[in-house]
C-alpha cells in the first residue's frame, strides 16, 4: 500500500506488526489514553541501593523477550547501555528489545548482542555509528522502530511502547532514587530523555557513579518513580558527554546559507518582540543564530525563548538578553550545564513537553522559527535525515519532525551539493519529515519556498531574496553533478520510520 506521501509500504511487517500508514501531519495528533502504571510500593526499606547490576536484573525479574530502555543524555560518552547489555548477556537472557532514545558510536558493542540474539529489537530516535550500519546490513532480527523525540514520549504514555525496565544513567543520585544531572564526574545537565520512561516503566533503575546523601537537590527525576539504585564505578566518559565541539562554521558557503536563512526569517515578519527560535548545534545552524542575533540587536528585539539542544552560544544569547528564556532538552557543553545550575530562566523540558503531539500542548507549538538540516529534500519538500545518500541508516528524526510540525516557519538549511551528491532529488531515499510541515529550503544557490506557503513566498520575494522553484534547484544541482544512479536495496525492511503520531511514514530496506 501507499501512504499519504505515496511511499510504498507493506501492510504487515514481520517483527513490527500491522502498519498504520501516515495520513498527514496532523491527521492523528490529539486524543490518547495514557496507560495505567502498576506500582509495587515498598516501604519496608528506607534504602533502594543494590549491590550490582546483576543483582538488579534478578530483583526486577528481567526475562527473555522483555523491553529495556536507555537514554542519550550522556551522548557519545554513555557507558550504561553497554554495561547493562553485557550483564544481560552474561545472565543468558535473550530476545531483548532495546528502547533507546538514541544510539551513538560508543554503543558499538550492541552490534555483537544483535548478532547473537541477545538483542532482537531496537527503538531509537537517532542512530549513528556502527549500529546503524549493522542494521542496514540486516544484522538485527526485527526491524528497528525509528521514532521522533516527541513521538517516543507519546508512544510510552499511550502504552504503545511498553517498557519493562528503564535503566536511567544518573550523574547524581541519592539512596532513595532522587536524581539530577548537574553534579558528579559525569555531569550532563538536564535529564529530559528518561522522563516518560521514569513515569511509565514497570521498573525504574537508577545507575549512578555519584551516590550522594539524601536528598539529591535540585531533584530532576524524583524518588516516587524509582525502584532501585545501582552504584557503579563510572557511568560515562565526560569527553564524550559534553563534547563542546560546536563552533560557528568557517566555510564560506555555509555562512552564505546561514545569512540567507536569517534574511528569510527577517522577511517572514516573525522577527519581533517575543520571537521564539530553535536551531541545531551544527556549524551552519549555529551561524544562523549569529546572523539572527545581529538582526535582533539592530532592531532592539527581545525574544521569548530559544529551545532545543543548548550550546554556549545560546547561553550567551540568554545572558545578553536576546531571549528571556532557554528551553533545554539537552546540554551540549559545560557552559550550558553551568548556566542551568545558576540561571532560573534556563528551563528544563521533558521530551513530552518538548514535542509530544498528543499531550495538552508541546513547546514546539509555541515556536516561531525552526532551523533544520537535511540529507535529501524531494520535490514535495519531504526531508530525509534518516539515511545517507548511500541508503545507510545513520541519523533519524530526533526532534526534526516535531519541530517542523510545530513551528510557524520551518526552514531547512543545506548545501545544494555535498561531495557530488545533489541534495534536492525527485524522490528521497527515505522520508523522515513530511513536506507539508517544511516551509522553506535555503541553499547556497538559491531559496525555494513550499508552494503550500504562498504567504511566505510573497514575503520572501518582496524582500528581494533569490527565490527559485524547488524544481529549478534540482536542475541546477543535477546540471553540475549529473544524475546519480539509484542504490539497490533488498526487500527486507530493516527500519520502520514512525511519524510523531505513530503512523508509518516510510521504511528503510536492507542494503
Amino acid at each position: 500500500m501507499r501512504n499519504a506521501l505515496g511511499r510504498e509500504l507493506p501492510e504487515y511487517i514481520a517483527g513490527y506488526g500491522e502498519v498504520r500508514p501516515f495520513a498527514g501531519a496532523f491527521a492523528h495528533a490529539g486524543e490518547i489514553n495514557r496507560k495505567a502504571v502498576k506500582v509495587k510500593g515498598d516501604w519496608s526499606s528506607p534504602n533502594k541501593v543494590l549491590d550490582s547490576l546483576g543483582g538488579a536484573l534478578e530483583k526486577c525479574g528481567l526475562k527473555d523477550g522483555m523491553t529495556v530502555s536507555f537514554h542519550h543524555h550522556l551522548r557519545n560518552g554513555d557507558y550504561v547501555l553497554n554495561m547493562v547489555l553485557e550483564e544481560i548477556a552474561r545472565h543468558g537472557i535473550k530476545d531483548i528489545k532495546v528502547a533507546a532514545s538514541s544510539i551513538f558510536p560508543i554503543h558499538q558493542p550492541l552490534v555483537k548482542h544483535m548478532g547473537n540474539g541477545v538483542v532482537t529489537g531496537l527503538y531509537a530516535g537517532y542512530i549513528s555509528g556502527a549500529v546503524g550500519e549493522a542494521v542496514s546490513r540486516g544484522v538485527l532480527k526485527n526491524p528497528v522502530v525509528m521514532q521522533t523525540h516527541g513521538g517516543r514520549a507519546r508512544a510510552i504514555e499511550a502504552g504503545e511502547l511498553h517498557i519493562d525496565v528503564a535503566f536511567i544513567a544518573a550523574p547524581t543520585c541519592d539512596e532513595y532514587g532522587n536524581m539530577n544531572g548537574l553534579e558528579g564526574p559525569s555531569a550532563c545537565g538536564v535529564l529530559t530523555y528518561p522522563a516518560a520512561d521514569a513515569y511509565y516503566a514497570d521498573t525504574v533503575i537508577a545507575v549512578t557513579d555519584n551516590l550522594v546523601p539524601y536528598p539529591a537537590c535540585p531533584i530532576e527525576i524524583t524518588q516516587e518513580y524509582v525502584d532501585y539504585v545501582v552504584p557503579v564505578e563510572l557511568i560515562g566518559d565526560s569527553a564524550g558527554i559534553v563534547s563542546g565541539t560546536t563552533r560557528i562554521t568557517n566555510d564560506p558557503a555555509g555562512l552564505k546559507i546561514a545569512e540567507s536563512a536569517a534574511q528569510v526569517i527577517e522577511a517572514s515578519g516573525l522577527l519581533k518582540d517575543g520571537f521564539s527560535f530553535q536551531t541545531g548545534a551544527g556549524g551552519t545552524s549555529l551561524a544562523v543564530a549569529a546572523y539572527v542575533k545581529e538582526m535582533m540587536k539592530e532592531k532592539k528585539i527581545q525574544g521569548s525563548f530559544a529551545a532545543g539542544g543548548i550550546t554556549e552560544y545560546m547561553v550567551e544569547m540568554l545572558e545578553e538578553g536576546y531571549f528571556r528564556t532557554l528551553f533545554d532538552g539537552q546540554c551540549f557543553d559545560l557552559k550550558a550545564v553551568e548556566s542551568l545550575r545558576r540561571n532560573k530562566n534556563h528551563q528544563r523540558m521533558s521530551m513530552s513537553m518538548y514535542g509530544n503531539p498528543s499531550n495538552k500542548g508541546a513547546v514546539v507549538n509555541k515556536l516561531d522559527v525552526m532551523i533544520l538540516g537535511a540529507t535529501e529534500v524531494d520535490l514535495d519538500f519531504n526531508v530525509n535525515v534518516t539515511t545517507n545518500s548511500n541508503g545507510l541508516l545513520m541519523g533519524g528524526s530526533g526532534g526534526h519532525s516535531d519541530t517542523a510540525a510545530g513551528a510557524k516557519l520551518a526552514v531547512v538549511v543545506t548545501k545544494l551539493i555535498r561531495k557530488r551528491f545533489p541534495i534536492v532529488v525527485d524522490s528521497a531515499t527515505t522520508v523522515t519529515t513530511p513536506g507539508e510541515t517544511v516551509d522553506v529550503l535555503v541553499t547556497e544557490r538559491g531559496i525555494a519556498v513550499n508552494p503550500l506557503r504562498q504567504d511566505v513566498l510573497e514575503k520572501v520575494k518582496k524582500a528581494g531574496l533569490p527565490v527559485k522553484t524547488i524544481e529549478e534547484l534540482k536542475e541546477t544541482a543535477e546540471k553540475l553533478t549529473g544524475v546519480p544512479e539509484k542504490v539497490d536495496f533488498k526487500d527486507k525492511v530493516v527500519a520502520v520510520i514512525e511519524y510523531r503520531d505513530g503512523t508509518v511514514i516510510d521504511v528503510v530496506r536492507q542494503l
Binding site: P252, A253, L255, K256, E259, E444, R445, G464, K479, L480
Partner: protein, 292 residues
C-alpha cells in the same frame, strides 16, 4: 564594458571546490587566479583546471576574469593565455602590468581571436599596477590597449617597494588611489581598489572601501567571499543617490520635450554630464537589485 564592477573576487585556480562555488557569493566579477595562489609545481594543472571549469560550467551573469602570471620574464603568462583564451573568458588580468606587457597580451589576444573567429577585442584586459613606476606611468598604461576595462591597484607590492607600512587609516595610498581614479575616469574605464588583507575585520574593510570610493574608485578586490557583501554595499549607489538620479532622469525627459538643453533642478544646474551620471546610477542600481 560592464556597468557594475563593485566587487572582484579572487579565487585560487587550483581548487575545484572553490572554482565551482565562486559565483554564489554575489561578486560582480570573479578572478580565477593562476599567479600568487598557485605553486610553481602546479601552474600546469591550474591552467587546465581553470580552462575546463570556464568551458564546462555555466557562469552566465557574472564577469569571469583570469589572472595570468607575469607575461615578461616568465614563460607562465604566455602559456596561461595560450591555454585559456580559446574558451573565451570575459577578460584576463595582467599582474605587474606595464605598457609593454599589456601590448604583448593584447597582441596575443588579437591573434587568437582572429584564429578562433571571435569578435575582435571581445576579451578584455585588466591591468594590475603594483609598482611606483607603473603608478607614475598610469596615463600611458591606459593607452596601451583599447581592450583595457579597468585598472586594479596592488598595494602590497607598492608599499613594499616604498618601504612603508599599510595602515588601517590608509594615508599611504592617498596619492596612488587618487591618481588611479583620475586617470581611469579620464579614460572611461574602472578603477579597482586593492584588496583589504584582514578577512576577519568587516569594520576595517568597510572603512577602507569607503575611503576608496570617496576618492573616486569604482570597485574593490575581494580576497575572501565574506568581503563581497560589504564591498557591494559600499560601492552601490545609496538610496539618496538613486532617488536623486531618478528625479534628474525624469526632469531631463521633460526638458527634452520642452527643447531645453540645460536646466536647473532643486537649485542645481543639470547638464549632459550630470544627466549621464544619473543614468549610470540608475543602471547600476538596477543591476545591484536596488528598487528604482
Amino acid at each position: 564594458m560592464s556597468d557594475l564592477r563593485r566587487s572582484m573576487l579572487f579565487v585560487p585556480g587550483f581548487r575545484p571546490g572553490m572554482l565551482q562555488n565562486s559565483t554564489i557569493y554575489g561578486a560582480d566579477s570573479i578572478i580565477f587566479d593562476l599567479e600568487d595562489s598557485v605553486a610553481v609545481s602546479e601552474k600546469d594543472a591550474a591552467r587546465v583546471l581553470v580552462r575546463n571549469v570556464l568551458q564546462e560550467l555555466d557562469f552566465s551573469g557574472t564577469e569571469m576574469v583570469v589572472r595570468i602570471n607575469p607575461i615578461i620574464d616568465s614563460p607562465f603568462g604566455k602559456e596561461d593565455v595560450a591555454e585559456i583564451a580559446g574558451v573565451r573568458p570575459d577578460a584576463f588580468m595582467l599582474p605587474k602590468a606595464d605598457e609593454e606587457g599589456i601590448r604583448i597580451l593584447a597582441g596575443m589576444l588579437d591573434e587568437i581571436e582572429q584564429k578562433e573567429g571571435f569578435e575582435q577585442e571581445s576579451i578584455k584586459i585588466f591591468a594590475l599596477v603594483e609598482s611606483t613606476s607603473a603608478v607614475l606611468n598610469l596615463s600611458s598604461i591606459v593607452k596601451a590597449s583599447t581592450r583595457l576595462a579597468g585598472i586594479m591597484l596592488g598595494a602590497e607590492d607598492l608599499t613594499a617597494e616604498l618601504g612603508i607600512k599599510r595602515t588601517l587609516q590608509g594615508n599611504e595610498l592617498l596619492y596612488a588611489r587618487s591618481h588611479l581614479a583620475m586617470v581611469c575616469k579620464s579614460a572611461g574605464i574602472d578603477a579597482i581598489d586593492t584588496p583589504f588583507g584582514d578577512v576577519g575585520d568587516q569594520e576595517g574593510l568597510e572603512y577602507d572601501a569607503t575611503q576608496a570610493r570617496s576618492l573616486g574608485l569604482t570597485g574593490k578586490a575581494a580576497i575572501h567571499p565574506r568581503q563581497v557583501g560589504t564591498i557591494n554595499r559600499t560601492f552601490s549607489p545609496s538610496p539618496e543617490e538613486v532617488i536623486y538620479a531618478g528625479k534628474v532622469v525624469a526632469a531631463v525627459k521633460e526638458a527634452e520635450k520642452a527643447g531645453n538643453g540645460v536646466f536647473a533642478l532643486d537649485g542645481k544646474m543639470v547638464d549632459a554630464p550630470v544627466a549621464a551620471r544619473a543614468e549610470k546610477v540608475l543602471r547600476q542600481a538596477k543591476l545591484a537589485g536596488i528598487e528604482v
